[in-house]
Assembly symmetry: C2
Homo-oligomer: 263 residues x 2
């Protein structure tokens, strides 16, 4: 497997897709709801996913594609090479803000992340990593993360997970929110993973994410020593939705042990 | 009063201060806690405030300055011209992220906001307004906001206000969080006010803000038709801390009426 060639091709596709997205703001963006009212999709999400699929199949016909919009392959196993793609992670931000969204891509071999990319399109911020070879923010090598105690930690957690919900006990999360230095919520799992990887926040958690939301970011996060698991402390499920937490290593343990109580 | 001259001078000071802040990342940043452990301040916040004060006093010796770091005047009344300044709004972001902070400045005459500025330093995004003459994002005129029903609204609210607290009943806020399209939290009141003014989010609320956090943003928000009040629906207190909510006009009424229950 020539991973160097795959890496170069993936990077060029992402940059070209970013350009297409920026140009799309001069065209009409059609917004639709998916299964849930606030799960939005646009013609641009679909166009960008189809662009990737066409280009990947042209060059790597034996690779499979697991994309948010469903134009790729039906993925029921993690065999071979799989491109896990969210063409626009943070579609709500894309629609409402025209910023703060990202292209998220992870390329996995037999279920193991080899290449990871997060492209914050409007800031032209490109986070990327090759397993075992370190992670980069644009051309700058990202340093290994040092631990931060919870009292000094800034944690990415959406207000909706602090409210009563059916997945975790919310009162320990309330305690965590009060204990930590502060919380943030940016509305894009990919950008929040990129922020953890670059030390801008110390942890990020969500109660429901899909493989394409986290596949790229997990490769990057692991290269700087962050720990990414589901809320049981296991590898996140890569064939369907799961809970998720990524954090600096000691902080990950502390949050899981003291503040996450699954229902 | 030559407001044109004051406006031009304020803009040039803000741009120069932004440059000083960007350069400061090459120097040592000393971090200290203020009264509360998570209320942080750095030597840069202090340097920038002192730079403004020196420059303002040089040119407008009869204007008073109400600044977050306390180097300005002791302000006990709103008489005359007051520059309400937060040299770095979002100090925690400044320290942890080196981005997502802003210079916030409002210039008030007898308690009425005449000039407003928010400068997102690292994005070089400048929001500014003159009372009665419209608001601008860089060189672009910001359009008047159209209302958004709560079901389609993205609301800036920090997780800590969704938890039980001593200011408002948290269960109606939980209901609001579930009812709206989504929530965000960026860690800078000034940037969140700028986001409301430019239509990127539809409302923003906080249970405790100081005059310098909101003074600049309120001038901008009002020029695009947003309503900014405390949670009683009154003008926010400009001499001390208060609750705060800014939103598109119908949405402001809806949130105050249905979701804010003061204790």
């Amino acid at each position: 497997m020539n991973w160097g060639a795959i890496d170069r091709y993936a990077k060029s596709l992402i940059k070209e897709a970013g350009h297409k997205i920026r140009v799309s703001f001069y065209k009409t963006i059609d917004v639709e709801s998916k299964a849930e009212a606030n799960d939005l999709v646009t013609n641009i999400d679909r166009d960008i996913e189809q662009f990737f699929i066409r280009k990947i199949r042209e060059k790597f016909p034996d690779h499979r594609i697991f994309g948010e919009e469903g134009f790729g392959d039906e993925i029921k196993s993690l065999e071979g090479v799989i491109w896990m793609l969210d063409p626009i992670d943070g579609t709500m931000n894309f629609i409402h803000q025209k910023r703060n969204f990202a292209i998220s891509l992870g390329i996995y071999l037999e279920g193991v992340g080899i290449l990871g990319y997060i492209y914050d399109v409007m800031n032209d911020d490109f986070y990327h990593a090759v397993k075992g070879e370190g992670a980069y923010f644009n051309d700058e090598r990202l340093p290994m993360l040092e631990n931060t105690p919870i009292e000094e930690a800034v944690i990415g957690v959406n207000a909706s997970w602090v409210a009563p919900n059916r997945r975790i006990e919310h009162m320990p999360i309330v305690e965590m929110v009060h204990r930590c230095r502060g919380t943030r919520s940016y509305g894009s799992a990919a950008i929040e993973l990129a922020y953890v990887s670059s030390g801008r926040i110390d942890a990020y958690m969500s109660l429901r994410l899909s493989p394409w939301d986290i596949a790229g970011g997990m490769v990057i996060a692991q290269e700087v020593g962050a720990i990414a698991t589901n809320m049981k402390g296991e590898n996140p499920h890569l064939l369907g939705q799961d809970t998720f937490i990524v954090a600096k290593s000691g902080l990950h343990e502390e949050i899981l042990k003291n503040y996450i109580v699954l229902k």
